[in-house]
């Protein structure tokens, strides 16, 4: 057989890599796609999405970190599992995954669903939206997630605390996939709390997108040191908004909810993102959805008062009025991806070398080019991540600049300052490396200490993977996956900084569906050192 003619064109889009920052970045956990960060067997496999991650450097040993991930895990309810269903957890889709091995890899040693929290006689089950924050100073981790009542239609945000000692204790937290009892023994040394519960009988507000952060200063070093802050979106036509709660570190004694957004946009205030500055000020970014397709990116600074007292917050300032936001139209998706994406803002604060100035960096995703075949069913042809910075406490912001100007889509940004070096890390999904601009790689750009210029992209994963290859996501290929997670920390010594990124991938293995093996969606983990 001699092939004579074929009209085929290929377009190759190489991912630029390499940077000249603190130290040469090195990928640790498999350059292609990181490593599967769960223990799910390949039978009855279901998706994991909406990842979060944090870690304590060198907690296991030199260069061996204690890593805690979170994800929405369909195993919680067996949702999406073809019959016969596999393991169904205790009703919790708030998955946790822990790496505590001395082996330098990204493997999880145990996992499970965050345990139920009982409050005022009501049992609240984990409902996803897991956010993770490490507290190296007090050697602990915090997990915030969405909660719903097991018997009533109540909803809330849950907050749990676990010490590193417990996570390293193979009796309290044995290896493997935790049963409900093992999940409780692992996480309930400090009783979990529910925040801002809605009363039963009527759903009066929708809570979503919890964000958790710890004031990592030494206990007693200042007002609020060690306090834990949780922010979330509370959609309510009358009294909703971005809600902030302060809790004590050891006992999770929490303040009353404080609404920090001050407008009532048509479609609500969305997706709070929390940080604590080195001096203890709390910073929040969130998005107001206005008339389509316009969003306003807001920034708020709050002064700590010492939990359980609520902080005192400034009026929100405007980072940017985004006129080409994502996520307004029904079925608003990215071309080729069939994934509904909403503009979301994340930020990071960096203390400058003068010891006083703090620069805040905000990143968000937007639609650079919209395809308006049917206005209410718009498709974005080219999503991009942009960045804006402020060095005056959020009063003024620089003009947004693209983090990556390559073709294809860049979306789901996350940003984290490596306090040890002052390096700001930005990650995002990037379809540019794929010939069809459909499959997703994870890319990272760094901003060097003292600079506000975004560096060249670095490949966190080099093999673009299709988000929608998991058959449990079809034929409903319009997916819902709103973010992934990343955290950067280090010791301040070149080569000893780490960036852990936890993201959705179908690349690492195939699972068994029916009589065949097909790609399966997992929360993966990648480590980058620099």
């Amino acid at each position: 057989m001699t092939l004579k003619y074929a009209g085929i064109l290929t377009i190759l889009a190489p991912l630029v890599s390499g940077t000249a920052l603190h130290a040469t970045p090195t990928i640790v956990c498999g350059a292609a796609f990181g490593a599967q960060f769960n223990l799910e067997p390949d039978t009855h496999a279901v998706p994991q999405q909406l990842e979060a991650v944090d870690f304590i450097p060198n907690r296991i040993g030199p260069s061996e970190d204690l890593v805690v991930g979170g994800a929405y895990d369909f195993r919680g309810t067996g949702l999406g599992s073809p019959a016969p269903k596999g393991v169904i957890w205790d009703g919790s889709v708030s998955g946790y995954y822990v790496h505590r091995s001395a082996t330098s890899d990204c493997s999880p040693q145990f996992e499970g669903g965050l345990p139920p929290i009982v409050s005022n006689g009501t049992t609240y089950l984990g409902n996803g939206g897991v956010a993770i924050a490490a507290d190296p100073r007090r050697d602990a981790f915090f997990a915030a997630d969405l909660r719903f009542g097991s018997t009533d239609d109540v909803s809330a945000v849950g907050l749990l605390r676990v010490s590193s000692a417990n996570l390293l204790n193979s009796t309290l937290c044995p290896n493997g996939t935790h049963t409900a009892a093992q999940s409780r023994s692992c996480w309930e040394a400090t009783p979990g709390v529910v925040l801002d519960p809605n009363p039963p009988g009527e759903v009066i507000a929708t809570l979503d997108y919890p964000s958790v952060v710890v004031d990592e200063r030494a206990t007693g070093s200042g007002v609020g040191a060690g306090d834990v802050y949780v922010a979330f979106e509370k959609f309510n036509v009358t009294t909703g908004g971005i809600t902030l709660i302060a809790c004590t570190n050891a006992t999770l004694s929490c303040s009353a909810p404080l609404i920090i957004s001050n407008t009532s946009p048509e479609f609500g205030s969305l997706d709070a993102n929390l940080q604590v500055r080195p001096g203890g000020d709390i910073t929040v970014t969130y998005v107001d959805m206005n008339a389509a397709p316009s969003d306003t990116i807001h920034f708020v600074i709050c002064k700590p008062k010492g939990a359980p007292m609520a902080p005192v917050c400034s009026a929100p300032t405007v980072v940017a009025n985004e006129s080409q936001a994502l996520g307004f139209a029904i079925y608003d998706s990215l071309s080729g991806l069939n994934m509904e994406v909403f503009t979301a803002a994340r930020h990071a604060d960096r203390l400058e070398s003068d010891g006083k100035t703090v620069t805040s960096f905000v990143v968000w995703d937007r639609c650079q080019t919209e395809y308006l075949d049917i206005p209410e069913d718009s498709v974005c042809l080219n999503a991009q991540v942009v960045m804006s910075a402020s060095s005056d406490g959020g009063t003024t912001w620089s003009a947004p600049v693209p983090v990556n100007s390559d073709p294809g889509h860049q979306f789901f940004p996350w940003i984290s300052t490596d306090v040890s070096t002052g390096t700001v890390n930005i990650v995002y999904y990037n379809t540019s490396p794929d010939v069809f601009h459909k499959r997703i790689a994870v890319s990272l750009n760094q901003i060097a200490a003292g600079s506000t210029t975004v560096g060249a992209p670095i490949a966190i994963t080099s093999t673009p993977a299709p988000w929608d290859a998991d058959p449990t996501q079809n034929p409903f290929a319009l997916g819902f996956d709103y973010h992934f997670g990343m955290k950067a920390r280090g010791t301040g010594t070149a080569g000893n900084s780490r960036v852990y990124t936890s993201f959705t991938s179908t690349a690492d293995r195939r699972a068994i569906y029916g009589t065949s093996q097909l790609p399966e969606q997992n929360n993966n983990l990648q480590e980058l050192t620099y």
């Binding site: 004579k4 079925y331 049917i374 042809l381 010939v435 034929p475 690349a507 029916g514 097909l518």
Partner: protein, 466 residues
């Protein structure tokens, strides 16, 4: 600039008709460009040694799912398509190679509908209308030509279609046939070929070298809408009576049974595949015929089979053969044993060498089992065993990526990748002088949409010699 999708292809050719080594190739496919005036179009290659298109156009406005066939004995081509109206009419057009090679009758470039009627000068209609039925639809037409030059029915053109009577629930359907004369396209009345079957669907027609008309189709064994609903793949032979007289047909014979739905989505992709049996005949050295039949088969459904497009864990192209005019059939055999999905299987006999060609998409070379290449397997003369597969495309395509996704409502995950590809095989009888053409859907050429570069779904042609 702002290109639109093409898919659902067909292809036919006359070897060396342009000049030695240059074939006259006619393709057809659904084409969403409004500039052409219809939903389907033809594409003609008549010069040079590439697969380039020299001119293209539409026979009429508002028709779809075209089929094109060559008639070497009369140096002609036929094209059929279904009107996009509520009528149950298949449009049939005829042209000659002389016309297609004439730059006066068929100027190069894109021909708007009606601007050049000399290119396809004979247009007839195969009218499947049944006045006694209040509400009906015509679907999935196909066309074939009797290749003979003598005998009853020689040169006659046959049109088959799926006639669905939806007056009552559950709807009933039948596979039907109309015979048309070759030169004038004088078409007769429709007759049912699916016997007592209550939902004859996706008919496919061929004519053997001895004039016997053969039709394959499938039928629900339970009333339409029943779940589960076993499907019977069936085969019918018809004797020509001389068009426009309808042929006389045998009772349908069972080829194979499927307990899975007729429509399914590949497990990790957003488009849909259909059970669409197709067959080809090979004349053996002793004058008997072997009939080979292929169709796409879902091995198992993930989740509920009752949803609109159930998810299939593995799609195979399967084939079977019969050496007794369809009375008995061999056990089904998968064309590929590897992983991934094989789909849109199609089959043609190269009568010059009596080589059977089976073309299909296969995702087996993609690590995510989503992106297919075009593969071809052959069955040598006298054999019923598949040869090793040839991979005809160096790279793969992504059915879910591109413009066709954008123009689906909201890009909601239901991708239109068409439901078939075209295949034609012919030669001189000398080894190395046979050609196979595959006309298929491919998204690898990017178009410009609102200033951005996006994969654009195109009908694409390749040829291979053997």
């Amino acid at each position: 600039m702002n290109p639109l999708p093409q898919n659902t292809e067909s292809v036919a050719f006359l070897p060396n008709r342009v000049s030695p080594g240059v074939d006259l190739v006619v393709g057809a496919g659904n084409d969403q460009r409004t500039s052409i005036g219809g939903f389907d179009a033809y594409y003609v290659h008549r010069r040079g040694s590439t697969c380039g298109v020299d001119f293209e156009g539409a026979v009429s406005s508002a028709a779809m799912n075209p089929t094109v066939v060559a008639d070497p004995a009369r140096d002609a081509f036929f094209l059929s398509d279904i009107f996009l109206s509520l009528s149950q009419i298949v449009e049939v057009a005829r042209t000659t190679s002389t016309n297609l090679l004439s730059s006066t009758a068929c100027p190069s470039g894109t021909q708007l509908n009606g601007a050049n009627p000399n290119c396809w000068p004979v247009v007839g209609t195969a009218d499947f209308t049944n006045p006694s039925v209040k509400q009906a639809a015509l679907l999935d037409s196909y066309i074939a030509v009797d290749p003979r030059t003598s005998g009853t029915g020689a040169g006659d053109v046959y049109v088959v279609a799926h006639y669905e009577n939806s007056t009552n629930f559950p709807a009933v359907a039948s596979a039907e046939i109309i015979a048309c004369t070759n030169l004038a396209l004088d078409c007769g009345s429709a007759i049912v070929v699916s016997g007592a079957d209550t939902f004859g669907s996706y008919p496919y027609v061929q004519v053997r070298a001895d004039g016997l008309i053969t039709i394959s189709y499938w039928n629900y064994t339970q009333p339409f809408g029943t779940q589960p609903n076993t499907i019977d793949v069936k085969f019918v032979t018809c004797t020509p009576q001389g068009a426009p007289k309808a042929p006389t047909c045998s009772t349908p014979i069972l080829v194979a049974t499927s307990d899975l739905p007729s429509l399914f989505a590949p497990g990790d992709s957003g488009f849909r595949d259909f059970l669409f049996p197709k067959h080809a005949h090979r004349l053996e050295a002793d004058g008997t015929f072997t009939t080979f039949l292929v169709y796409d088969r879902c091995r198992s459904i993930i989740g509920s089979p009752s949803v609109a497009a159930p998810v299939c864990s593995k799609i195979d192209v399967v084939f079977t053969f019969s050496t007794d005019s369809g009375a008995t059939w061999s056990a089904l055999e998968a064309v590929e044993s590897g992983a991934g999905h094989q789909f849109f299987g199609t089959i043609q006999d190269d009568t010059s060498t009596e080589t059977i060609n089976i073309a299909y998409y296969s995702t087996q070379d993609d690590i995510f089992l989503q992106r297919p290449k075009i593969r071809l397997r052959q069955i040598a003369p006298g054999s019923t065993v598949l040869t090793t597969a040839s991979i005809l495309t160096a790279v793969s395509t992504d059915p879910d990526a591109g413009v066709q996704n954008l123009i689906e409502p909201g890009g909601e995950g239901v991708i239109n990748f068409g439901d078939r590809i075209g295949l034609a095989a012919a030669g001189t009888g000398t080894a190395g002088q046979s050609e196979v053409y595959v006309h298929y859907t491919w998204n690898n050429v990017f178009g410009t949409f609102v200033g951005t570069s996006q994969p654009d779904q195109n009908n694409t042609l390749l040829s291979a010699a053997y």
